[in-house]
Amino acid sequence: MRLLPLFIIVAAWQAASSAGWLPKALLPSFWEVASALGALVSSGEIFRHTASSFARAGAGFAIAVIGGIALGIVMARVKAVQRAVEPVLLLIYPVPKPALIPLFMIWLGIGDVSKVTVIALACLLPVVVASFNGARSVDDVLLWSARARGTSEHRLLWRVVLPAALPQIAAGVRTAIAIAIIVLVSSEFISAETGLGYLIFSYGGVGADDAMLAVVIWLGALGYLLDRLYLAGLRRAMSWHAFAH
């Protein structure tokens, strides 16, 4: 099966640890990490931190997606908006968003608001770009056809441009998911009281490598699951589209 190489690696890892080739100080054995994860799960602690992490990431992500799609589509259909917004976006683009975290924390406090804002800003760009490109490349025939069936210009955006641009928008949103997680973890490293990033950072700081790695693996698994769920959901919602995955 596809997962076999992973099992092989895990097995090799455990074997190396047990045989003493891999000193515990360097890397805990797989079993130790697994036990630590088990402890975190059964105590419920990891769920608490997962919830607060994902609340932050989710909020920022949602804001970026809704705002980004709307902005991207309007930019594509109204030249004036494009001219006004595009240069500003190009200015923000080269700034690595995690570098804005300290600034936002000074400005908006060290609580959740600053983190949500940075995540939203970071996710905004890929969504806007994807929506913009998607909305721009809508086949004229579809627009003409819709107009010939009585669609007003306003409804055109909602009834034709948005659905037609959806495949490209979906790709941008997928990128945004990955970015949200990265910026989330970065912000929780820099300053947080709760969250998965906070856990990783504090366990690492006290040398509790097994717990730290447990959370890392947990985070990785969640990221993977989110991506898969997103793709599966996409396939169902857009069954009308011929996907090549």
Partner: protein, 259 residues
């Protein structure tokens, strides 16, 4: 003199300006009566599709006027339904969704909408495919849906832009019969553009031949006989004769371009 159902007066279309201007159409005068099935043929690039798009309101003429039922044409609208050659169905809607699209725009109440959609599904013989998406349908079926989608809006005039051009010969024949059958039922006014002379004669009660670019109306033929559904019109000498005459007229234009 009262306006014809569809009236084009001195319609001209030019792309670009100044030295790079390309005249697509020059001084088109055309009068089409209600319930006519008019086909338009001509060499490639003669502007027959452009003419159709002008009637559809997707383009604005650089000169002249177009009027439908006495009112000037200023933009697209459901009174002029159009069937394109391809890729005009909304890929995210099912067959039912596509056919009902215009009805949704008019905010037709649900039950009425469903009734009309069902009626049109039956009309184009697509029972059983209502919940399919366009990508699951063959080219011929997609064009049936496009036709149903247009008819469901009850247009005053039906515009068809080489609708069967992308289909194989057999499917084309079948769909021509479908169009004929539907037209004979409704007697809707139709403006049908094609490069296929045989198709033009098979479907049209009047056939307009356009000149090479810049296009103008070269000749108008009237088909004096009927073509019934399922007819073997190849065996009809009147048909072959008319087809030959029209073909010669078109060929003159094709040769003129090549010369």
């Amino acid at each position: 003199m009262p306006d014809a159902y569809l009236e084009l007066r001195a319609v001209a279309m030019q792309y670009g300006s100044g030295a790079q201007a390309v005249a697509a159409l020059q001084a088109i005068d055309l009068a089409i009566e209600e319930r006519e099935f008019v086909t338009i043929v001509g060499p490639s690039g003669c502007g027959k599709s452009t003419l159709l798009y002008l009637v559809g309101g997707f383009l604005r003429p650089t000169a002249g006027t177009l009027g439908l039922r006495g009112r000037p044409i200023t933009g697209p609208g459901p009174d002029r339904g159009i069937v394109f050659q391809r890729y005009s169905l909304f890929p995210w809607l099912t067959v039912r969704g596509n056919i009902g699209y215009g009805l949704d725009e008019k905010a037709v109440p649900r039950r009425e909408r469903d009734r009309i959609v069902d009626e049109h599904v039956r009309l184009v013989h697509l029972e059983g495919f209502e919940e399919r998406y366009p990508r699951e349908l063959s080219g011929g079926m997609q064009q049936r849906v496009a036709l149903a989608q247009t008819l469901a809006c009850q247009p005053d005039i039906l515009l068809m832009d080489e609708p069967f051009g992308a289909l194989d010969a057999q499917t084309r024949r079948i769909l021509q019969d479908e169009v004929r059958r539907i037209w004979q039922r409704d007697r809707r006014t139709v403006l049908f553009v094609t490069h296929d002379v045989e198709e033009a004669v098979a479907l049209g009660t009047r056939i307009v031949v356009m000149s090479a670019r810049p296009g103008r109306v070269k000749q108008i033929f009237t088909r004096g006989f009927d073509v019934a559904v399922g007819d073997e019109f190849e065996a009809n000498p009147a048909f072959t004769d008319l087809k030959l005459r029209i073909w010669r007229s078109v060929k003159e234009e094709v040769d003129a371009v090549r010369a």
